[in-house]
Amino acid sequence: MTAAGLRGTRRERSVPHSGWMVVAGKEFGDHLLSVRFVVLFIVLGLAAAIPLYFAASAIRAVASSVTDAQAVFIALFWLAPNVGAGGVSLPSVAGFLAYVAPLLGLAFAFDAINGERAEGTLPRLLSQPIHRDDVINGKFAAGLAVIGLVLVAVVGAIAAFGLIRLGIVPAAPEFLRLVLWVLVTFVYVSLWLAFGMLLSVVVRRAATSALVGFGAWLLFTFFGGLIVSLIGGAIAPVTGSAEQQLANNGLQETLRRLLPDTLYREASLTLLNPQVTSVSTPATIGGYEQAQQRIPSLLSLDQSFILVWPQVVALVALTVACFALAYVTFMRQEVRA
């Protein structure tokens, strides 16, 4: 073997620039073969399967009395079933997914950049004829693809289960609601993917960035509500009158909407459940009475969507902001750590 053998034919390299696709292809393959992919699939599957089982039983028990036959199938996703004699209320399928979904996003991004740094592959990667942003774009695209794949697979499995166990075929509007809900969930998980990407750029060590991401997940998803209650109680204390109670509620609601978790839950429930006609609690006593007198009705899909349009836009904006921050920081970093 001689060096002259290398010379061979001089390659034509006028292929249009698409370095990010090569990066994304490699990352996507890595993700699919990775242990974390299998683990997350199992965790997500379990998170969906447990409430699904009970929700399905509950629906079968009350199928005749559920408000409208049109929305029975999709109730599989939003119905929070009561379990056992004591009537312990489990979260719904959608509720469970709202807890676990951020992990899905974090898992595929927390070590995206700092992992390359740790392995010493970043300088080599950047010395190939690709733009620097191809690296972060490709990794983000691969993450999105994996998330989409997992979500579609899990939701598809749930729907198949519903078809078999309930024997109900979803009507077209239900199916559309489901598709929209999957899209909103996808955006929500992308937000956490972008956040994980940001951590992987800013935090030098993968273990640290995983821990920070995990902490943020706990904070926003579980403790966020508690902290909001504390702040609400401090600023608008409740001493007895109904006005104060309402003021406190209003403040808490506003604060809670700062949490992406709340935005997603509101959008998710409204999109799934046509019975949800309002995402806000009434701000006055009059409004409260009005709401109580309202005849229960079903919203059409477009009305549901209009109701949560602000939430969806906010989620998209947060995702874009997170990714933009990660992108800019990465572009300004020195190649050497």
């Binding site: 490699k26 080599r124 190939q128």
Partner: protein, 363 residues
């Protein structure tokens, strides 16, 4: 062609005449067919720290240029600027005639780079890692497989190519790094500390490979190292870096002339039986015309060093010494002219005062 014996030092100047120092105010865009890397006034500052200071560098096709310097002397920063991976504060660089700061893609397409402490994806095999690089360079699939096999063979990794990289030793990673840099069929190869972890026998193979690439392919290789022997044995020209500045560059001979003590020396090996013989030898050698000084070895068995007045007289004096010693009946074991080691040169270069800035033609 590669079978030519390895000349450890004192390599005769290669085919092309190379100017000992670049012109002080040469234009970075001045056309030259053989120049592959050229920098003029290249400077990089990080805050107050000057990592690379006013660097003028030329690397021609068909030569191996060694960057020599301590850690933190600015070697890696220079390399990153040549690849467009970091922007120079001032000054200009041209690599294969292109400005890496403005058109890094084309530069990176034609330059193979192996970073210091090169890393690979541990869960992929060596072949898969190199294949990824080939794909990033948009090399046609079928052609890529052939090239990958060929470069892995060249660095001696064929039999381990399909094992996961996490099972590789450091030396194997460096070999894989060289294969990875070669897969794009580059015109210029930039290697940052390429052989630090490779075992001594392997180093010989790798250096032979580099020499072949340069001789057969007219590649230009820029390598940085702190391993003086290797640099001395393989590099055509050497640049010595200290605190961001190139304090000397040229062939070994040129560096020796500049930083050596100037006087050529002969090494004379004598087997002397006793003290009287020792004294006789000292007086005999000292009496030869043209000999300036005689330094006996530190131990009786060590060769003597004879300092000669002028380089042109070396051959004549060697003959004279051989005759004198033979006539006196002293057993002569060896006699050869001494080439100063790069280590000596390097030490003196580092210790020598920095040339003042204005001496190089710029304010």
């Amino acid at each position: 062609m590669s079978a030519s014996p390895r000349i450890v030092s004192g390599r005769p100047p290669r085919g092309r005449a190379i100017a000992p120092h670049p012109g002080p105010s040469g234009d970075v865009d001045a056309s030259s067919d053989t120049i592959r890397i050229r920098t003029r006034g290249l400077t990089k500052r990080y805050g107050d720290l000057v990592a690379v200071d006013d660097l003028d560098l030329d690397v021609h096709a068909g030569e191996i240029y060694g960057l020599l310097g301590q850690n933190g002397a600015g070697k890696t920063t220079t390399i990153l600027m040549l690849l467009g991976l970091t922007e120079p504060t001032s000054g200009a660089a041209r690599v294969v005639g292109l400005d890496p700061a403005r058109g890094p893609l084309e530069v990176k397409r034609r330059v193979g780079y192996m970073p210091d402490s090169v890393g690979f994806y541990g869960d992929l095999t060596g072949r898969q890692n190199v294949r990824y690089t080939a794909r990033l360079n948009r090399i046609d699939r079928d052609e890529a497989e052939e090239t990958i096999g060929s470069v892995l063979d060249q660095v001696g990794l064929s039999d381990r190519a399909d094992d996961p990289v996490e099972t590789y030793s450091r030396g194997m990673l460096q070999r894989l790094g060289i294969a990875d840099a070669l897969v794009k069929d580059p015109d210029v190869l930039i290697l940052d500390e390429p052989t630090t972890a490779i075992d001594p026998l392997g180093v010989g193979e790798v250096l032979d490979l580099l020499r072949r690439l340069v001789d057969e392919r007219e590649m230009a290789i820029l390598l940085s190292s702190h391993l003086l022997n290797q640099v001395q044995s393989v590099c055509d020209r050497i640049g010595i870096f200290a605190s961001g500045r190139l304090i000397g560059q040229g062939t070994m001979d040129e560096l020796a002339a500049r930083f050596g003590d100037g006087r050529p020396q002969l090494e004379v090996g004598l087997e002397l039986a006793d003290q009287p013989e020792w004294e006789r030898a000292a007086s005999l050698l000292g009496a030869v015309d043209g000999v300036v000084a005689v330094h006996p070895g530190p131990r009786p068995i060590d060769p003597w060093l004879v300092t000669v007045r002028d380089r042109d007289e070396v051959a004549a004096i060697r003959t004279a010494i051989m005759r004198v010693v033979a006539e006196a009946g002293l057993p002569l074991v060896s006699i050869r002219s001494v080439v100063p080691s790069l280590e000596d040169i390097y030490r003196r270069a580092i210790a020598s005062p920095m040339p003042p800035r204005d001496a190089r033609g710029r304010p």
